[in-house]
C-alpha cells in the first residue's frame, strides 16, 4: 500500500506543480524518488510534527495541495491540535498520510502502534478518513483525495499487501465496495484487515453461510445507505478493523444501525481498550487481540447460532 501511495503521488506531482510533499524525517528507501524528481515540491521538516502541520496549513492556504507523510502516531496524535485548528478549522487542503496502521510496527512496541487514530481523526469536522484495504484502493484513494480541496487522512499499511479487488471494481470516496453478495450476514472491513475478511468470508462460505463482503475504505463520510441496506437485508453485521473498538469503523457502523432503529445481530472486531505491551509479528499481535481470521470466523459462527 505504501508503495502504491508513493507511485501515485509521484504521478500526481508530475502533473501538478502545486502539489507538495512534506515528511517528518521519515521515508527512508521510500521517498527518495520523489525527493530527486520534485526537489521544489518536497521538504523534510525534521522531527518536528507540530511545526510540520502548521507549515502544511500555511502552504495550503497559499494555494498548494500538501501531502504530509509520517508514521501514524506522529502525523495524527502528536500534532493533534495543529490538525484541528490549522487544517480542519480552516478547511485547509492538506492530506495526512499515516504509515503503519494497527500493529504494522509490531516489533517496535506500543509507542508505534496505531489503534486510536481513526477515532481521533473522524471526530474532527471537515476531515475525510480513508483506510485502503489493498494497493489498488491505496492508489485510487490517493488520486481521489488529491482532487478534493479539503482535509483528508489516508491510513496505510506498510507490508506488501496483495491486491484483493477484481479488475472491474469501482472506487469512490464515501462509497463502500460490495465485493461479494450474500443474504446470511454482512462483513464490513477496513484497512488491511480486508485481507483477513476475505479469508473469514471463505471460511463461512465453506460452512454454508452466504455473506456480503464489503470493503469500507472510507470511514468518514460513512456510507450510511450501504450499512442500512446491508443490515436490513442480512440482519447480521460484523465489522473488522485493526483499531480500537472505541471510535473506529465498528462504532461508526453501530451508530448508523441504532439511529435507524434496525434490529440485527452486531459485533465489532477490533482491539479492546488496552495497550499491547508485547513484542512479536503483526500476525501474532493480531492473534492475541482476537483478530486472527480463525477466531473471527469462530465468533461469527457462535453469534449466528444464538
Amino acid at each position: 500500500m505504501r508503495t502504491a501511495f508513493v507511485q501515485t503521488v509521484n504521478k500526481l506531482a508530475q502533473k501538478d506543480r502545486n502539489l507538495w510533499l512534506l515528511t517528518g524525517d521519515l521515508g527512508f528507501s521510500v521517498l527518495e524518488g520523489f525527493m530527486k524528481n520534485f526537489p521544489k515540491q518536497y521538504l523534510n521538516m525534521g522531527v518536528a510534527e507540530q511545526n510540520m502541520i502548521g507549515v502544511a496549513a500555511g502552504l495550503a492556504l497559499s494555494g498548494k495541495t500538501v501531502f504530509v507523510y509520517s508514521i501514524i502516531p506522529f502525523v495524527t496524535l502528536r500534532p493533534y491540535e495543529q490538525i484541528r485548528n490549522d487544517i480542519c478549522m480552516q478547511n485547509a487542503n492538506v492530506k495526512l498520510v499515516g504509515v503503519g496502521e494497527g500493529f504494522s510496527y509490531s516489533q517496535l512496541g506500543p509507542t508505534h502502534h496505531s489503534i486510536e487514530d481513526i477515532a481521533a481523526m473522524r471526530s474532527l469536522p471537515n476531515m475525510i478518513v480513508v483506510c485502503p484495504g489493498d494497493p489498488w484502493e491505496a492508489e485510487k484513494a490517493t488520486q481521489a483525495i488529491s482532487k478534493i480541496k479539503k482535509p483528508a487522512y489516508l491510513r496505510l499499511g506498510k507490508k506488501g499487501e496483495p491486491r484483493l479487488h477484481k479488475k472491474d471494481a469501482k472506487f469512490s470516496i464515501g462509497r463502500g465496495i460490495l465485493m461479494e453478495e450474500g443474504t446470511d450476514l454482512t462483513i464490513l472491513a477496513t484497512g488491511s484487515m480486508l485481507e483477513s475478511a476475505v479469508v473469514v468470508w471463505k471460511n463461512l462460505q465453506k460452512r454454508g453461510l452466504a455473506g456480503r463482503l464489503i470493503s469500507m475504505h472510507t470511514i468518514k463520510p460513512m456510507d450510511k445507505e450501504l450499512v442500512i441496506e446491508s443490515a436490513k437485508k442480512t440482519r447480521a453485521i460484523f465489522t473488522i478493523e485493526e483499531h480500537s473498538v472505541i471510535g473506529g469503523l465498528g462504532a461508526a457502523v453501530s451508530q448508523v444501525i441504532s439511529e435507524n432503529g434496525i434490529k440485527c445481530v452486531f459485533h465489532s472486531f477490533g482491539i479492546t481498550d488496552k495497550f499491547t505491551k508485547l513484542a512479536g509479528s503483526q500476525d501474532y499481535l493480531r492473534k492475541i487481540n482476537g483478530l486472527s481470521s480463525e477466531e473471527i470466523t469462530g465468533v461469527i459462527l457462535k453469534k449466528l447460532k444464538t
Binding site: 521538516m45 525534521g46 511545526n51 500555511g58 498548494k64 491540535e81
Partner: protein, 270 residues
Amino acid sequence: MKIFKKLILTSKQIRRDILKMVGRAGASHVGTALSCTDILTALYFRVAKVSPKNPKWRSRDRIILSKGHGGVGLLATLANRGFFSRKQLLRYCFDGTPYTGHPMIESAPGIEVTTGSLGHGLSMGLGMALALKADRLKSKVYVILSDGELDEGSCWEAILAAGNFKLDNLVAIVDYNKIQSFGTVAEVMDLEPLLAKWQAFKWGVREVDGHNFSEMLEAFGSVPFTQERPSVIIAHTIKGRGVSFMENKLEWHYKSPDNDQLKKALAELS
C-alpha cells in the same frame, strides 16, 4: 527623531475602539490588545502592503496575529484600516456574530489565519513564506507573537525551521510586555537571554521600543537584518499601554472595564 503624529492618532483611535468593544462585551484580554496596538498600527498603516478593497490580493504581505488573544486589537485595526465597517466593532462577541474573542478567518476580511491556541501562527507563517518564495512573489510574512507564547515548544520548532530554510521574507515580532497569564515572564518561565536564543537559531535580530513608531519603522525598513535569514523584532512593550490604571497590571489580562473605568480610560486617550 521623527514623530509620527498621524500614526499616533490612529493608534489612539484603535485603543479607544478596543476599550469600547471589551467594555460593551464584558470581554477579557484588553491589556494584551493594548500592548500590541502600536505594532499592528505600524504594520497595517505604514509597513505592510495590504489592500482593504482586495483583501486576498495575491501580492499582499501576510500579517498573522499568532497571539490570538489580542484579537480585539486586530479587529479594531482592520476596521480602522477600512477592511470592514467600524460600526460592526460594537457587535464584538455578540450572539451570532463572527466577532469571536480569538480571530477566525471568517471573522473579518484581512484575517489570514485562525488563531487562539498559542504556538500555531509562526508555523503557518513559515508555510506561507515558503509558498511565496516558490511562487516568486516578493511579499513578506509578519507574525506577531506574545512573550508567554514562546513557552510553547512548537514555536521553537518553527524558529529552528525558519532559520534552517533561510526564509528572509519572514518577520517575527515579539510583543514583549513581560507579563503572562499568571505572573511575570521572569517569574513564570524566564525567556532571557531572548535575543541570543533567536540569534542561535539563525535569525537576524533587532530590539525596539514597541510603542515608538520611529524605532519600529526603522527596524521594519531594514528587514532582512541579515542576508538569507529570517528577522525577529523584539518589541519591548507595556501591557495595558495607554490607560494609566491598566499599565503593567496582570489583572487586565482578564478584567473588563466597567462604565466608570471606561470613561476614565477613554478620557486618557482623547
